[in-house]
């Protein structure tokens, strides 16, 4: 405590602990209509008896509070953020500007489609681009995030089987899957059947063959998977699944590795979700908003969520007319997943990104993401880091790679968590830790395409420095971090005695 930084000395005080009775930031517009007693309009028994105890602060107090709070966050614009499976690529500021244009930002979702033609044209254009990237013909932009897209996909699968008079019970997911996959399966009323991983980090085909049967509704798969490895048996995997009449679902969280290079539709998948907040630069906002559009094959299309964007007029054929509209008349649709048309603000940003990069730029983004990941792994190897943190599967990776901290723990006595916390003192956001679950002391590293070689070199050096320091004195890493606004927090205590709101 003797060496507290200024930020550490500045203890957390909430907005509810600031201010004074009578202070305010809001000035109400004048009441320009005849004054009416509230008693006359709404019976007292329906009205609030005691006011919500909201903060009472002036505008300057309010601004200073939240600006100071913002400075207690690390962010992508400040430093390297190689968080595996999250694709923390640069967020172009152009996107904020165009999303903020009043014609987009202040458009009411129930505006007559005839007077929202720009928005519908944009959504149509984004659907066409995502369709092209997926290699699948039909798209719904409605899901709000990846997990919402997954739920849509499994419900589409259910509707598809119901149409064929089938009630299947299970969904296959590899043991490397994101947690959202099994959670989605349960919410959609199916049972999870886990499929094992082979020695090369791909799906264990024998296990898949043994478990795929007429009860299998769907296989959910990420490819490249969460180990950052492209499964070379993908065509055979999809064939096995299709042979038992199940659908194949592609979790698009790792699409950033293969844009324009390999398409889920070409691999045989029926349903794909995209994370616009990963591959398509929607800023992550500290935990959202996101957007999780889905692309599907012809056989799944009748069940897509409604409304669906259509083109009317022209020669009368959907898809060629000049006027865009929202079509609710979809008798086989699974229905809505949410209100209105989806997270349009995210569509604007993703669409702008696709316009900026174009076909060649998107492919270049994926090639560079893969180049950066392999280069970072090579640098770690050159610096001797991989002797203590070897790759979980030693082969060319895609856009990310998984290291195992097992040898580091054994030899240096520090855990992956300690390494991560010490990297905070070096000014880096650590990679994803303890995921995927089947890698001991896992560290999942995804540098993305928008980082420079210099940044990758410096990060590799920082990891090497932490390991060298730990060899001399492991206590330093075990007690890290030292320079952050707070140091290691008591998470167990927080869960045991939850304090989830300010006592007022």
């Amino acid at each position: 405590m003797d060496h507290e930084t200024a930020m550490q000395r500045d203890r957390a005080v909430t907005i509810f602990e600031k201010g004074q009775a009578g202070r305010r930031a809001f000035s109400a517009p004048a009441i320009d209509v005849p004054e009416r007693s509230l008693d006359e309009l709404i019976p007292a028994r329906l009205r609030r008896k005691s006011p919500a105890r909201l903060p009472q602060v002036s505008e300057p107090e309010l601004v200073r509070h939240y600006v100071k709070l913002s400075r207690r966050n690390f962010d992508l614009d400040t430093g390297f953020y190689p968080l595996g499976s999250c694709t923390m690529k640069h967020n172009p500021r152009l996107h904020e500007r165009v999303a903020g244009l009043p014609g987009h930002a202040r458009l009411h979702p129930l505006q007559d489609p005839a007077r929202a033609q720009g928005a519908l044209a944009l959504m149509w254009g984004l659907e066409r681009a995502l369709s092209e990237l997926a290699g699948l013909p039909h798209v719904s932009l409605q899901p709000s995030a990846g997990s919402h897209g997954e739920l849509a996909g499994v419900l589409l699968t259910r509707a598809y089987h119901a149409e064929h008079g089938e009630q299947r019970r299970t969904v296959l997911t590899p043991d490397t899957a994101h947690g959202t996959n099994p959670a989605t399966v349960t919410m959609a009323g199916y049972e999870v059947v886990k499929v094992g991983t082979n020695a090369e980090g791909g799906v264990d085909l024998d296990d898949l063959r043994a478990k795929a049967d007429r009860d299998t509704a769907c296989l959910m798969l990420t490819n490249p998977n969460t180990l950052g490895l492209f499964d070379p048996n993908i065509a055979e995997i999809v064939r096995i699944v299709h042979d038992v009449g199940a659908t194949a679902y592609y979790d698009g969280a790792n699409l950033n590795a293969i844009m324009g290079i390999s398409r889920p539709g070409d691999m045989g998948f029926d349903i794909v979700h995209f994370n616009l907040h990963k591959s398509f630069t929607q800023p992550h906002g500290g935990g959202g908003p996101g957007s999780g559009p889905i692309a599907v094959s012809e056989r799944i299309a009748p069940f897509l969520p409604r409304p669906v964007i259509v083109r009317r007029g022209g020669d009368g054929t959907n898809g060629s007319g000049r006027e865009f509209d929202l079509d609710y008349d979809r008798p086989k649709s699974i229905g809505r997943l949410r209100g209105f048309q989806g997270n349009y603000g995210c569509f604007v940003r993703a669409y702008a990104y696709i316009c900026s990069l174009g076909a060649a730029g998107l492919r270049d983004a994926s090639e560079t993401a893969v180049l950066n990941a392999n280069y970072l792994l090579a640098r770690l190897r050159q610096l001797g880091v991989t002797e203590l943190l070897p790759p979980a599967y030693d082969r060319i990776c895609m856009h990310e790679f998984a290291l195992t901290g097992g040898p580091m723990k054994h030899e240096l006595g520090i855990r992956t968590l300690d390494l991560a916390k010490r990297l905070l003192d070096h000014g880096y956001h650590p990679p994803t830790v303890y995921f995927p679950l089947l890698v001991d002391e896992a560290l999942l590293v995804e540098p993305t395409e928008t980082e420079t070689k210099e940044t990758l070199d410096a990060f590799a050096q920082a990891v090497a420095d932490v390991l060298r320091e730990a060899r001399e004195d492991p206590e330093i890493a075990r007690n890290a971090p030292y320079t952050t606004p707070v140091r290691r927090l008591d998470e167990a205590g927080a869960a045991k005695h939850p304090v989830l709101r300010q006592a007022l």
């Binding site: 209509v33 309010l62 244009l101 809505r336 730029g361 956001h429 140091r487 869960a495």
Partner: protein, 467 residues
């Protein structure tokens, strides 16, 4: 190389050498030929920043926003004023660009915002616990349904037909998977039919859903509705408009189990429907079945106050198929706007704004009800939205009237018959603090004229077709 990447030819050469391959293509050698894209992407070439801006500007210009007309559209999203400081805070890199706070030591800003947000939502709803946000309003209601299913395992949901049609449809979509049936209770005089509600609820009912105010703008008398459900042990879920809770009784005080709702009205722009946020608050006994992120207070090793994501054993990344929800990314940035907005309004402002909305809405309601042919669809108390009948034969006629108003740059509201065929000439009119008395007078004049034209056209032998 694009403007967002930085690998020069020299960099690439050095990087490939370090990796030990001859070309970038070699890095992709593990992808079998049969699943390679056969041709380059069929997409246009990339554009410069100024060109992209011009294109997006052109698309924006083809939309009629609430800046281009006097709009009384509501029906779930409302044109409230968003203070400038929210734009500034939401565009700060430190809030805009981080991921979910998995490393709490460098995420105290975002985590404290979540804690403050949860506090504000608890205050507003009168409930004990809140999560850090879900996607948006209708899916928040469906998330509450899943909590009820996990809680009591019963087989049926009962929902008022006065709940937002998007929420009703979302509930049906999302509970189909886990095999629930949904029954709908009709509306009488603009509110949920209490007799039908009471007889629809029995011991098989897992949860009931009601909205405050309801989709028709009416304030529901929640007390008897809640009582009817609780006597059968069903969970009570109320979807509330948070901005009306300055003057309407907090649903938690009245005894609901869960209060959810659309957070757009709290400092978020319209954005053609999203992103906004959904809020989710509940009684304490439900906390371990809540969906999504929850921030909690704790201390660091030196005793400093700090915040972490907590109760994570509910969540998908820990519990996987046994999780209480699959939600991962939610709406942190939009929830930030929500708590900043509530702090900006403040304790008194929330009440004052509610009073202003009620007064302006009452004025508009009386003005429109006085027009020839127009009548109130119900005379229940309202806060910022009301429903009228236009006295025209059908939805097509309502649409023609709206189109005529558009010529005069007025958008009079949302046609109810789109979702409620029984209100064939119904119109839902919303009045925010951004619509002045002069705007309301303009609405009355323009709508009155449009209706007169419609009636005159209907009386002509040609059947109403205009020249």
């Amino acid at each position: 190389m694009t403007r967002y990447t930085a690998v020069t030819d020299a960099d690439r050469q050095a990087m490939l050498e370090a990796i030990g391959v001859a070309s970038v293509d070699e890095l992709f050698a593990g992808i079998p030929q049969e699943v390679r894209a056969a041709a380059p992407l069929d997409l246009p070439d990339g554009l410069g920043e100024a060109e992209v801006y011009a294109h997006l500007r052109e698309l924006a210009a083809r939309n009629t926003s609430v800046e281009d007309e006097i709009s009384f559209l509501g029906a779930g999203m409302y044109d409230h004023y968003v203070p400038a400081l929210i734009d500034m805070l939401m565009s700060r890199s430190e809030f805009l660009t981080p991921y979910t706070p998995y490393q709490p030591e460098i995420s105290q800003g975002g985590l404290q915002v979540m804690f403050e947000y949860q506090t504000a939502i608890c205050e507003l709803t009168g409930l004990e616990v809140s999560n850090a946000s879900v996607y948006e309003g209708p899916s928040a209601l469906a998330a509450a349904a899943y909590l009820a299913k996990l809680t009591n395992g019963r087989s049926r949901f009962v929902i008022s037909r006065a709940v937002h049609p998007h929420a009703r449809e979302t509930l049906v979509t999302l509970c189909a998977g886990y095999g629930m049936s949904v029954s709908e209770v009709p509306v009488i005089d603009g509110v949920t039919d209490l007799a039908a509600w009471t007889s629809a609820i029995d011991e098989d009912v897992s949860a009931v859903f009601v909205s405050q105010p309801n989709f028709l703008g009416a304030v529901e008398d929640l007390g008897p509705l809640i009582e009817a459900a609780r006597s059968h042990g069903a969970l009570v879920v109320c979807s509330a408009d948070p901005l009306t809770l300055g003057i309407l009784e907090a649903p938690g005080v009245l005894g609901v189990d869960v209060c959810v709702g659309e957070g757009q009205t709290l400092g978020n722009r319209l954005d053609f429907g999203g992103p906004s946020f959904g809020f989710f608050a509940a009684r304490e006994e439900h906390v371990r079945r809540m969906p999504g992120r929850i921030a909690g207070e704790t201390a660091d090793v030196d005793g400093r106050r700090g915040f972490v994501l907590t109760l994570q054993t509910r969540e998908q990344h820990i519990r996987r198929e046994k999780a209480t929800s699959n939600i991962c990314t939610s709406q942190a940035l939009n929830a930030l706007a929500g708590v900043v907005y509530l702090s900006w309004l403040g304790r008194e402002g929330l009440v004052e704004l509610g009073e202003l909305l009620a007064a302006r809405t009452a004025y508009a309601r009386e003005k429109l009800a006085a027009l020839d042919g127009v009548s109130l669809l119900h005379d229940q108390p309202v806060v910022r939205e009301f429903a009228i009948s236009l006295g025209v034969p059908d939805l097509a006629a309502v649409r023609r009237v709206i189109a005529r108003c558009a010529v005069d740059h007025v958008n009079p509201g949302h046609p109810l018959a789109i979702d409620y065929p029984e209100y064939r000439d119904g119109l839902l009119v919303a009045v925010t603090e951004q619509r002045s008395r002069a705007d309301i007078d303009q609405l009355a004049e323009v709508l009155g004229r449009a209706l007169a034209t419609e009636r005159a056209a209907a009386e002509t032998p040609s059947g109403g077709a205009e020249a």
